[in-house]
Amino acid sequence: MEHEPEFWLTRLFNDYLGAPLASFLNSIGHPAANPNRPWENWIVIEILVVAIIMVLFAFLRSRLSVDKPGKLQMTFEAVYSFVSGQAHDAVDHGANKYVPFFGALFIFILFMNLIGIIPGFESPTMTPAVPLGLAVSVFLYYHWMGFRAQGFGKYLLHFAGPMPFLAPLMVPIELISHLARPLSLTIRLFANMFAGEKVTVTFLSLTFIAVPAVFMGLHVFVAFLQAFIFTLLAMIYVAGAVAHEH
């Protein structure tokens, strides 16, 4: 991809924290592409988003009140009931165990998608690495939940399908479909965010007035939708892994 001018925070990170990251990356065997400036835009903005979320929730925590909820509390109660309601719809019982993960996933992806709309910032989800990391974490999470809910052996027997003689057919199909899940999650989130930016930039180069703003508005809608879809699919995968046939 083209070399973009460095985000101001990335420049700060590179100037002061460049050497520790470069030596850390060397020690784990993946040296940085440019050893003098190892910090990239996406990781710096991810850290910024995490800091923003933590500050926001710490502020919210201090303002929680049962008798007189303020606007912020009501907003986040709405978000919570939305995520929890979806989780209870998707997973039959025991949804409460998974709501923290889904809520964190939804809010993290939403904030990362939306921060790219602010002029001067770029969405970390625009680089393929970030959605890949999220998709791999969802993959590991739902398999781990499956192991925990059903036991190691019984969960693996799921791949053999409903009847034993179908196993040679079902195992490759199930394997491929399970491997396709992180792939599709990654590409869906990455391509939507990347395409949103490219389309806005393209229309910005064609017509300077009004039309790119329409595409940015569409991009806001798509940002919400993609965060929701990622979380919903994570819920469906967890539900599939945890489901008991009664």
């Binding site: 599709s184 590409i187 869906r188 391509a191 395409a195 939708l225 993609q226 919903l232």
Partner: protein, 101 residues
């Protein structure tokens, strides 16, 4: 009627076979043609995606007209279906960028 049309379209597409006779400009087999084919693939993917999403939206609108009480569930299914169909066209978009390297 449609079978005749399909045969006609196939025959016309075969008229383009001289393209295989051209000497590769990039000095290798077919390195020149990756990008045009990627663009064509993007066009086909977007067209078919449009058809699929149109069908989904039409069914959703009709269902909401028949049963306005179930609008919330139908709207949810519509959004879910549209996003999943959209993602198929976006996979092809990503391949265009892979072909650019």
């Amino acid at each position: 009627m449609t079978r005749k049309m399909l045969f006609l379209v196939g025959a016309i597409l075969l008229l383009a076979s001289p393209i295989f006779a051209q000497t590769p400009a990039g000095g290798g087999g077919g390195t020149d043609l990756r990008l045009p084919f990627a663009f064509l693939a993007m066009g086909i993917a977007s067209g078919l995606c449009g058809l699929g999403q149109g069908k989904a939206t039409a069914s959703a609108a009709e269902a909401m007209a028949r049963n306005p009480g179930a609008s919330a569930g139908i709207r949810f299914a519509l959004i879910l279906g549209l996003v999943l169909i959209e993602s198929l066209a976006l996979y092809t978009f990503v391949i265009t960028y892979v072909a650019k390297t």
